[in-house]
Amino acid sequence: MSLSHSVREESLIAAVIATHAVAIVLWAIGTLSRRKPLVTASAWTFGAAFSLNVLLMGDRWVEAGRAPFKTLYETLLLYPLCVGAATLVLLGLHRLRVLIPFSSGICIFGLAWALAKPDVEIVNLPPALQSAWFVPHVVTYFIAYATLFASCVLAVLALAKPSWRSEETGQGFEDGANLAVKFGFATLSLGVVMGAMWGKEAWGDYWSWDPKENWALVSWLAYLIYLHIRLMRGWSGRRSMAVCVVSFAAVVFTYLGMSLLPTAQDSVHVYSQP
């Protein structure tokens, strides 16, 4: 990575952060003063931030000459991108504008972290990662992580305001959370299966009880429990929303907590920094 590229990348990250901050401010003013056009403008600003994030990712992809999903830093650029995409879909399909400040918030958090701890150089891709599975496996997973973040936010809102209903769709936060979990769980399942198939091609096993795999299983099981709890009479409301929030903690740990585990030394999944 050239110095000029890292300078450009830094400014691009700062630009995405700033745009997200504008989206939050617009949303807050629009919501507090009940001015709908401002909330709509906030959604468009969010879209602009997402576009800048796409540019940021594309720039790094070109500079690296490979998919930039190798290091923690690179995933901290990818995650906001996926949160952006998931939020835009939920905005488009279900008018869940309430997500804007939260999604922008998490994007700012991830990008600020990236700014604080940037990679000092672009690392070479080891042979095991040079696979056609690399991009679909990682992207599917990060879309799942992003969607499940939205579900967690909506679940917290559902616990706080269980009776709120959207004027446009008539749906409450719980419905939104459930929608997001379903999509997140489906992508999580696809991500696990893709990872298993890649593992078979690269290391000879589709499952090797690697700590990251185990935690992927833990998060998958947690959402599976959520899905079954939803079917239980008397449990589908507050209790299921609480489970939804707790399940996301497992996702966060799967993403970021691996280096805390004593068993992670031999893992092939712990994010490396150059």
């Binding site: 489906a186 690269a202 299983l217 079954h228 709890i229 239980m232 009479r233 008397g234 589908s236």
Partner: protein, 657 residues
């Protein structure tokens, strides 16, 4: 949405979950106990087909008697949630407790009370333990029961069948792989044929056992593609302990001052020497700062040439001896200094050593076999002397071609405070400093001068600097007085195989860093380091860290990591001596043959024809993959196709209602 996902069968009348959790926890405890009971009776005479039949009959008949409440519980949501919860917990425990340690290590790690307790629960190898497998079996049983109860083979329930049945199929695939599969390793070199492989245990460690292959696998060629090494300057902040650099700069970028992390600390690359060495040059200096010096090129009959500087008035350094003619050439500045040597002097080895960049070099006289501490914890042992150095590449040994001191070399064993040792040779004919790494990683330079035994010389030729004359003494008597030759191309005198290149009244030797070639053989970087307001020039040898300042940041000159682009084995499958298949195996591209898969697994940097190949046989693979596909289709369709079908049907239902 909610109502769509809910059917009457799924809605249970028991919203209390804790009894089920307690039940599944109880079952887990029973499984732990059963595992230990099995371990205790396994292999004893108690276990035979009769006893197994009796126990199975009792279990089955009790189970049959209570089939209704048992299946009711197995298909209940409460049970499934509790079971998934317990499996989740066990999986999480398996990531917190170290897995696959030897029993001794495990106890040492977790202490005399916790260790055995965890072992008793099977937590030291949870995923292969009897209780965990029991839970997975219970999961399959529960899934099977719910499929039967729901009569999920009906077309309307296919998606339910797919995602629930898919999990059973995956577990079945895993079970087949577990009992019918094999995993092992082939260590092979180019040209060799493997007819068997070494079996691995379940943690990937090699066992003593081998498994024959019914074909031969010949490694035709092994290749490693390396990325072009990219030399860079890195800063590591040692106290952070992450092992990750905090600054990385290309050589081009590093020519500008770069902050090194701590306040007031920075560095700048001045020059790079791909094939670093130090060249000794004679530099004229003002009077009083140096000595009279003569640079002389000497040569022998075989055409070996060496360039030496001799200094007037410095013992050991003022003369050259030509053993062939038993002639000593000695340098004096003025004729009044001449003192012809008449006694015999023994052989002497003089080593000068210094840290590159520092001014002072220290001379020491050493003997073969001697061990000397040369400061800063570095110890040097003189292991051998080769008067006429030669190197046997096959034996990887140095030897002497003859007893004549034609190419005198001293073999040293240098031991650093870190414990690393280094063998190196110093050559008297190449008196330029030989570099290596110093105690702190900075370049440590050696030079070597050899003084052969000097018999009372038959002849001494005195080179007089001030008058530019040669005085020829034979047996102590002045026999001839000659002027110096006109140019450096002429021999000094008859019998003195040397030419005078340079004569300076006051000079000093200066070592200048040079690169002997463009090849990156012995890369070094000349760097300016600024810390606490002081700028210092340092030579960085490759991969040897140098402290930047008191805060402990280290500057390292090294190549970018992960230099392996790819590695692959070209193999031939042989059957009865005939080639039946050829393939190239690389990472992510295994070879499938004869029920096995062969994976490119290892290479060895120090052994370039070696290839490590992982061998895997998994008869359950197809089943597991079928399960994966079923499960994914089931999940996606149940979430997105079932509601869509329901919506399509809904208006019809409304009209009929």
């Amino acid at each position: 949405m909610k109502n769509n996902a809910l059917t009457k069968d799924e809605v249970q009348n028991l919203p209390r979950i804790w009894p089920s959790v307690a039940g599944v926890a109880g079952i887990s405890v029973v499984l732990v106990i059963l595992g230990h009971v099995w371990d205790a009776v396994h292999g004893s005479r108690l276990v035979n087909s009769w006893s197994i039949t009796v126990v199975a009959a009792i279990v089955l008949s009790v189970g049959w008697h209570y089939r209704k409440p048992i299946t009711d519980w197995l298909v209940s949501l409460q049970f499934s949630i509790a079971l998934l919860g317990v499996i989740l917990l066990a999986t999480a425990v398996g990531t917190v407790v170290l897995q696959g340690q030897s029993p001794g290590d495990f106890r040492a790690k977790y202490g005399p009370s916790t260790g055995p307790f965890l072992q008793m629960l099977g937590a030291d190898d949870i995923f292969h333990s009897f209780p965990f497998r029991g839970l997975l079996a219970l999961l399959s049983l529960s899934l099977g029961a719910v499929i039967v109860r729901k009569r999920a083979w009906r077309p309307s329930e296919w998606f339910f069948l797919f995602n629930h049945g898919g999990v059973i199929v995956i577990l079945l695939g895993g079970l087949i792989g577990c009992y019918g599969g094999l995993k092992g390793f082939i260590d092979i070199h180019q040209g060799e044929v493997a007819k068997k492989f070494v079996l691995n245990d379940r943690f990937g460690k090699r066992t003593e056992e081998t498994v024959p292959l019914d074909f031969g696998l010949k490694l035709d060629k092994f290749e490693i593609d390396r990325l072009v090494p990219e030399w860079r300057l890195y800063v590591y902040e040692d106290h952070k302990g992450s092992g990750m650099p905090t600054v990385s700069r290309s050589l081009e970028e590093a020519t500008a001052w770069t902050e090194a992390g701590h306040a007031g600390e920075s560095f700048r690359l001045v020059a790079v020497y791909p094939d670093f060495d130090l060249k000794t040059e004679l530099q004229e200096v003002p009077p009083g700062e140096g000595r009279p010096a003569a640079q002389i090129r000497s040569f022998d009959k075989e055409g070996n040439v060496s360039v030496r500087v001799i200094y007037a008035g410095v013992e050991d350094e003022d003369s050259l001896y030509f053993p062939e003619n038993r002639t000593l050439l000695r340098f004096y500045w003025s004729e009044s200094d001449v003192k012809v040597q008449t006694e015999t002097r023994p052989e002497r080895h003089v080593i000068a050593h210094k840290l590159v960049g520092s001014e002072a070099a220290e001379d020491i006289v050493v003997k073969v076999g001697e061990e000397r501490e040369i400061g800063a914890g570095v110890t040097m042992t003189v292991t051998a002397f080769y008067p006429d150095f030669g190197y046997d590449g096959k034996k990887k040994q140095a030897y002497s071609r003859s007893t004549e001191p034609k190419n005198p070399a001293l073999e040293l064993n240098v031991r650093y405070p870190t414990g690393t040792t280094e063998r190196r040779w110093l050559f008297a004919n190449k008196p330029d400093f030989n570099t290596g790494s110093g105690p702190e990683g900075e370049a440590l330079a050696f030079s070597y001068r050899y003084f052969p035994e000097r018999k009372a010389a038959d002849r001494e030729v005195a080179l007089i600097g001030s008058t530019k004359q040669l005085l020829d003494y034979r047996h102590g008597e002045l026999t001839e007085r000659l002027p110096l030759p006109d140019g450096p191309e002429e021999k000094l005198a008859k019998g003195v195989a040397a030419k005078l290149l340079k004569l300076v009244e006051c000079a000093r030797e200066v070592q200048t860093p040079i690169s002997r070639s463009d090849k990156w053989r012995r890369p070094a970087a000349e760097v300016e380091i600024r810390a606490g307001g002081v700028t210092e020039k340092v030579f960085l040898k490759s991969n040897a860290p140098v402290e930047i300042g008191p805060a402990g940041s280290l500057l390292v000159f090294q190549t970018k990591p992960e230099d392996i682009k790819s590695f692959r084995s070209s193999v031939t499958v042989l059957s009865g001596g005939n080639t039946v298949h050829t393939a190239t195996i690389s990472v992510n591209h295994p070879l499938s043959w004869g029920g096995y898969r062969f994976y490119q697994s290892n290479f060895r940097r120090e052994d370039p024809t070696y290839s490590g190949i992982l061998v895997v046989k998994d008869p359950g693979l197809g089943v597991a993959y079928l399960g994966f596909i079923m499960m994914c289709i089931g999940i996606i369709c149940r979430f997105y196709v079932t509601p869509w079908l329901a919506r399509k049907r809904a208006p019809v239902e409304r009209t009929t209602a």
